[in-house]
Symmetry: C2
Subunit: 336 residues, 2 copies
């Protein structure tokens, strides 16, 4: 399988490394506009030695290398990745993107979704948005667990993670290191956004279960630290904001049927907060699942984007979501 | 969707009830050979009032009712369900069966599997074996979790459940109520079998991950009770057997890569044993999952067999396993 990766940030680099190390995939091209990378050998940049493929700042890479699939890791938003997806599809390439909004764009971007679906079908390829969350923990895994339930009344899930390993951009979009006043201002201005993906996860669950969601309420609250916390990129004094406590509730009429919580902060353990993924399903049976510590976001997103490659290449054409396809599985541990 | 159920035991009854209560399925026939049920109305037998379909002891039901899918809940073994599957497929019906060996028959029954696969393709239908375990907890769920791992080295999973709600047949096949000597004899004679499904779960995981398993070791040990335990169908004095501690280890060469444990006993809490499903995955990341208490076996098998119906009807023709198909999801909670 011939693969091009588009975007050579932390996620794109991890995915490129996985593809190089896989026995049955070949990385045939890498697109990125960072001058630090352009013209350099991908293998050298990843510490794997010369590989023979250089990073280029040109979409022509796709037409020239004729890949089976393009992995797009450039942005969180449909508006940014749509032209990139369009270009890949028109070159007859399947697409996987980790843009959060693409995990389930059908409700949030109905027109764009119809367009991408018809384009993919016309060119005989598949488009998939995936990632650890949205894409797995707060949607696909929940949906799979409802599969052992006859009746589901209500779903409550929490993903409590540690932002400490992340860089400056993530700290800014989560408001880490701001004062409570700056946090409120950032929310209003849209510079602090919290988690991107609640409407997508809720819509994916709702479509799978056939629930007609009538209202979604999102809430973003500052996690004000009582202690000093610091990472290489940010310092948080007591009284300042250590993260964003973002949650979403979805209703069918008056009834709250889905509650998702995703408080993201640096060093949660400094105030005794245990990280983990928690899913509770209430129905004819109750399911009470925990994964402790949480599935690590960065590594898991890199893994799932790589692991879905053969499934996407083998899938029926169209714009798909994780719930439409066979379950992901690790593809890099082959012994035969 | 027109459905026939074949087998009206505890599982078959639950599935029939789900189908009757679904908005978009119709139960068009029920086959069972129990004289207690023959000729009686299915709705009446289920306490739902007259439904207009009577239990019949004739396979002609399938030809006469022309169902989209037949659910077979008659036996645990390929040899028993194979002729039933064959008959359904030759009548152009898709098939779901909860026969444990059918969850992944490709390795344990390669010739039969090839035959079923080619037959299904010739008639344009899909055959699936499913259930809570094998079919979900110790295979599909594990596979899905490996999807967020780049590299998987080793998998350890345990399903600790309570057999107390089950009937006489289950107690006998698990050796509940025997003396330790009778237990050993039962193992030798094959009357005590423990869990049916370890080779299937292991083979399903191995195929998904591309692992070339070279050896599987199974072990069945008596769970000898220190206290008095009893259910409506069995009494266990201290020193007698309360259940079967069944486990399986799978190797790639010298390396043990999969360990599955499934101790099944009555009233485990009487000796402080907490029930639950536990999955540990070791690789580039480690995943530590628990579901407490365990997903209840009977109800979950009824649910997943029902929930897979639309997916199986919509799937590509052939003999499939759970890892080949989109994740299951509850289909009976529709609000639209």
């Amino acid at each position: 399988m011939r693969i091009v990766t588009w975007g050579f940030g932390a996620m794109g680099r991890g995915i490129a490394k996985n593809i190089i190390e896989s026995k049955f995939m070949k990385l045939v091209g890498v697109i990125d506009k960072n001058p630090e990378f352009i013209g350099k050998d991908v293998g050298e940049l990843l510490g794997l030695g010369n590989y023979g493929v250089r990073v280029r700042d040109s979409i022509d890479v796709i037409e020239e290398t004729n890949p089976d699939l393009v992995v797009i890791a450039t942005s969180s938003f449909v508006k940014d990745v749509l032209p990139q997806i369009e270009y890949a599809v028109k070159n007859h390439a399947n697409v996987i993107t980790i843009a959060e909004e693409m995990a389930f764009p059908f409700d949030s971007h109905p027109e764009e979704s119809l367009y991408m679906d018809s384009l993919a079908k016309r060119y005989g390829v598949t488009i998939l948005g995936t990632g650890v969350n949205p894409g797995f923990v707060l949607d696909t895994l929940i949906i799979a667990l409802t599969g052992v339930c006859t009746r589901v009344d209500r779903i409550v899930a929490k993903r409590i993670n540690d932002l400490s390993p992340f860089g400056k951009t993530v700290m800014e979009t989560q408001g880490v290191g701001t004062t409570p006043e700056q946090f409120e201002e950032g929310l209003k201005k849209g510079t602090i956004v919290g988690h991107i993906g609640f409407p997508q996860s809720i819509a994916m669950i709702a479509r799978a279960l056939g629930w007609n969601i009538t209202k979604i309420e999102e809430e973003r609250k500052p996690i004000i630290s009582n202690v000093y916390r610091e990472t290489p990129v940010v310092k948080v004094e007591p009284g300042m904001v250590a993260g964003c406590n973002h949650s979403a509730k979805a209703y069918v009429g008056d009834k709250c049927v889905i509650e998702l919580y995703h408080p993201q902060q640096i060093h949660p353990h400094l105030e005794g907060v245990e990280t983990g993924d928690y899913i509770e399903i209430y129905g004819d049976i109750n399911i009470n699942l925990s994964i402790k510590p949480e599935i690590p976001g960065g590594k898991a997103t890199i893994a799932i984007a790589t692991n879905m490659i053969p499934i996407v290449i083998g899938a029926q054409p169209g714009l798909k979501c994780m719930a439409d396809l066979p379950v992901p599985r690790s593809i890099l541990s082959f012994t035969r």
